[in-house]
């Protein structure tokens, strides 16, 4: 584990966090009456698009894993597989637009990140999400942000039955908010955690 790697990770996370915040604020300048709570669906779209675009760009630029050669058969199959996983992770999301958009957001925070870092390799996915599976700080980062996003979405479900009559208490807005906050928290926690445990973290070499 190198200092430079950690620094790169921090920078990447900072960028990701900024993209989330930007998605919540920037559209106001283009769209009339945009606000996170007022037009949640637009926000969901914006957030997913910005985060996924950034992830792809970051992946290309920083490239924690060497990208496969462009144009090769493996690459094409891999891309197809990616799309399949991405869609599969929506689950039963095709029932309504709300649910669909929430699923897109959640998979942007989780599946897409995994795809960028690990590629369409299910064994690698299984490996990363087990106790001693992390092999780099990127893997750790992935673990923490993914778990935080899912947890955030889970906790986001709790205010739904409450009778406060707030606009954000509707499915899937509270869950999306929860997931977003969880993701942001994960982005902050991950470098801190890695920094905290840098003594214990010894990665197996490939």
């Amino acid at each position: 584990m190198s200092e430079a790697g950690v620094r790169r990770l921090c920078a990447a996370n900072l960028l990701r966090g900024c993209s989330v915040l930007l998605a919540a604020t920037a559209p106001r300048f283009f769209l009339d009456g945009f606000s996170v709570l007022g037009t949640p669906l637009t926000w969901l779209c914006a957030c997913s698009v910005s985060v996924s675009a950034l992830s792809v760009v970051l992946n290309a630029a920083l490239g924690p894993s060497p990208p496969p050669r462009r144009g090769s058969l493996a690459h094409k199959v891999g891309f197809l597989k990616c799309c399949m996983y991405f869609l599969m992770s929506f689950g039963r999301a095709f029932l309504s637009l709300n649910t669909f958009l929430f699923a897109v957001l959640l998979s942007t925070f989780t599946t897409l990140q995994c795809l960028c870092v690990l590629g369409p390799n299910i064994q690698a996915w299984i490996r990363v999400f087990s106790k001693n599976g992390a092999m780099s700080i990127w893997d750790n980062n992935l673990q923490i942000t993914t778990v935080c996003s899912v947890l955030g979405a889970w906790f986001g479900a709790f205010p739904i039955p409450l009778d406060w009559d707030r606009p954000w208490q509707v499915w899937p807005i509270s869950c999306s908010l929860g997931a977003t906050f969880g993701y942001l928290a994960g982005l902050i926690i991950a470098p801190l955690w890695i920094h905290w445990n840098r003594k214990q973290l010894t990665y197996k070499s490939r």
């Binding site: 999400f129 087990s130 739904i160 039955p161 009559d165």
Partner: protein, 1054 residues
Amino acid sequence: MPRWPVLLFLAWVSLLFAAGLGLFLSGFLLTRAELPQRSSCAEPPGPGPGPWPWRGQRPPRSCWLPRRFARALLVLIDALRFDFAAAAAARGRPRHYHGKLGVLRQLAAAQPRHGRLYRFRADAPTATMQRIKGLTTGSLPTFVDVGSNFASYAIREDNLLAQLVHNGRRVVFMGDDTWEGLFPKMFHRSYFFPSFNVKDLHTVDNGILQHLYSTVDGGEWDLLIAHFLGVDHCGHKHGPDHPEMAKKLLQMNEMLRTLVERLGNDTLLVVAGDHGMTDTGDHGGDSEKEVNAALFVYSKTPLFGTDPPEEPEVVPQVNLVPTLALLLGVPIPYSSIGEVMAELFATDGDAVSAALQQLDVYHINANQVDRFLRSYSLVAQDLPTEELQQLQDIFSSAVEEHAQLVAHVQEEKPSSPELQARLGRLLGRFQRYLREARAVCARSWARFRPLRMVAGCALIAASCLLCYVASALPAAPDSFYRSCLLAPLLWGLAAALLLGLACAVMQEGLDLLVVSSWAAAVSQVAFFWRWWACPALAFPMGILLFRCGAMFSDSFVVAEARVVPFLLASLVALLVGKLHWDGRLTVPEGPRQQLLSSSSYRKESWHLLYLVAALLLCVRLSAAFHQCREESPQCRPSLFLAPLAGLRDARAKNLFYLACVAALVALVCAVRRWLRHCGNLNGSEPAVLFVRWGFPLLAVFVACYWAVASSAEDSLGKLQELVHVALVAFPWAVYGLVGAGLLLVLCKPVTVFAKDTRETAGPIVTPYLGVASSEVDFLHVIPQIYRRMQESLKSHLERGGCGAAVAAYGLGSVYSAALVIALTLLAFLLLLLHSERLSLAFLLLFLEAFVLLHIHARARKPFSVPWYAVISWLLAASQFFYSTGHQPIFPAIHWNAAFVGFHLDHSTNLLPALLVGANTFASHILFAVGCPLLLLWPFVCEAPSTQRRKARKEPREELHEEEEHMMEMRLREAPDRFSAALLQLGLKCLFVLGMQQLVLAGMLMVPHCACWARRFLFEALGFVVSSVCLLLGILLVMRVDCAVSAWFSRLQLR
């Protein structure tokens, strides 16, 4: 195997819980006997009024006393707190609710003898329904009315409305539709509006306003009640101090002003609030702001003889009933304990005649209360005798004095100051009598006993802790039971005896509940004295914590039907996530995997994931059978809940019927298939025969019953008689068969088929009779057994369930087979009690339970049931409480269940209560009885994987192999561990169940949460049912154990 201590221990713990619950409930529930008597016009209480000059001419249609008003207009503004009607406070910030009802103050100021404002004191609980009861019966509230009607809310006691209707008056109602249920068919005309959506401020009020003025002007009424809900709903939604409240109150003010303008001279206007509200807009408890409502009376003719006092008087709510009754000239309702507002009865004449008029009213009122107290003390003993005696003394002396005075006045009729003083004293005496009578009643009925509630809560909490500690204890065989069961029990008994003796010595009445809870407390102390440990928390506790925490919020209680499946799914997902995280699902890493830096799942792990997916699907599907709560008006109950008979479309009806029958057939086939798979469906044991022939027969009976019940009434014309017979005969056939089946399972639970192979001479030696005597024995037996096993495999019979007793089919799953059979029988019974289409839900229930068991078996630890399994099992039980179309509210109870197999009559209340209870707690019953399966299933599921490998094994490796798939016979090998595991399982279940009780009970201690009493009642009943069924399930397992022992000894004899 020490069976009895286990059962005794569990029973003891259940009793501890029961004592705690009982103590809590006795401190919490308000109970009062309801009297069936009604007052009648012809029989006034006490001596009737004589022909005295001040009574004047008696107007027509008057009872007991001459009426003062021909009609009354009762405007009930829900949650009209006193300060809403009063003037704005001089000091402090002006609130939104201040000073908005100006018309009341103006009237009172301009015409002090025509209108007056009172403080109207409501009795707790300040829930609308209880208040309506109080406002019409003149009595104190109860949660559970002893002797009340079985199936409806309707008020059975004598009440003001019934008296009016009985005496030929017309009662017109508009507003809150709660009244419809309380007074069915009582109104001359009525306009009901839905009241359950507390978010909706205007529907009820605007609906009333549409009809109110025209009705008032139309004049076709003697009592008009208008119950406005807007203020209350506004309080719930926004709180009292909100601009919306100001608007609402101004609207009410406008309405009152218009009404006053249209008021006739012979009409009394009463404006009342049924209760107040707290500063957050809630009500239900007994805080000052909740019980302090406003009352305003007004008429165009002078009402009062004197000017109003400075400070508004306080009038208890029950006083309105006798006042209104006598003013309108109808008898006071029989059970009323109110005191008339005497100032309304003295208008004209000098002070003496006014006092005499008031005395008349008091006299009638006191006689009526006395009559009620006498008849009440004949029926119930909850009023203390000595206080009744005191009351009696006051009453008789006052009556005597009254008679003397009347005689005195009739003789001379002087109006001396001395007479005035006597009159005043007598009035005071009557007043005192009436007030004390009410106080005595209130003391013994409408009082929470906080000490008992706290003690009950503490007992439940201690029992929970006990369960937790005991379930974590390592179980040493004999001394364990002696020290942790016998000693506490003895201590408890000793304590009970001591208290009993003390009571006997002190000549006090013995309260069984107090004694039993005392004993429970002492025995708990004795337990903790010996076994104090602080156990560690396990991770699934988090989910349980959420489950319990969810009960703290009203909204979560309302949404529980959605919360429970969510938590169940989370728990299972969490479990799988944890297993994955710990690497227990992946293939152990070989060098190759390390090279590729990847890992993959084992085959069984994929199996587990499929199971989880199936579980999620089940959870998802089971939501289709939801019932609605009254709080969520936009919710539509599932169409599966309605009986098929109500379906118009014949085609749809047939299709649904086929689906239901298919579900039934699927259930029978699945159970039979499972039993066959385990080898428990061989031979001719009575239980096996019953499964073979009895189950299909049961299914046929149930299907026939459904067919008859759902067929249209008219289409069968001539066959009407036959249909009626069939409607009774089929359910009884099912009851009989299920009863017979359960008896059979209890008497002959062994479903093992021992194939006697004649070729081998000598007795079959089985290694299950305790420890194998010698290694030689083993070596001699095993190859023989294996050979025979191969024979049996060759001959295409079902596989021998357990390896060593080769020809004993199904020995390895004998425990679970008995449980499964019993569960299926129970399911048939419960299916019959539900409406037809819920059979699909029951199929889902079995499927989900099966999937849960398999998940648990995959992630198993032998001989101990982990917390997550218990919690998920009980969460599933709660989930299916909702998914079989139930809700913990009274209107959602399936009352029809009481009449399955009975024509519409029951001689006792016991049988219908049992049927309805079985219907309501169906899933509790099934899951609790099936609880021991959690322990057994990992053993049952042991077989298949080893079985397959077995065929390829060399005979030399047999010894090892044989030991590996003994399935449930492992339990017999280690009887101590078996019983310890059963005990642990039972304790864990009781702990999880008890925690929910504890939280709810704790919630109810907070004063304003009294409205959750019904929820708590359901939970408490569910707990009792669950714990009893749990004990029965464990009892069944032990019974099987006995029977298996007997079976082995018979086998040995052969």
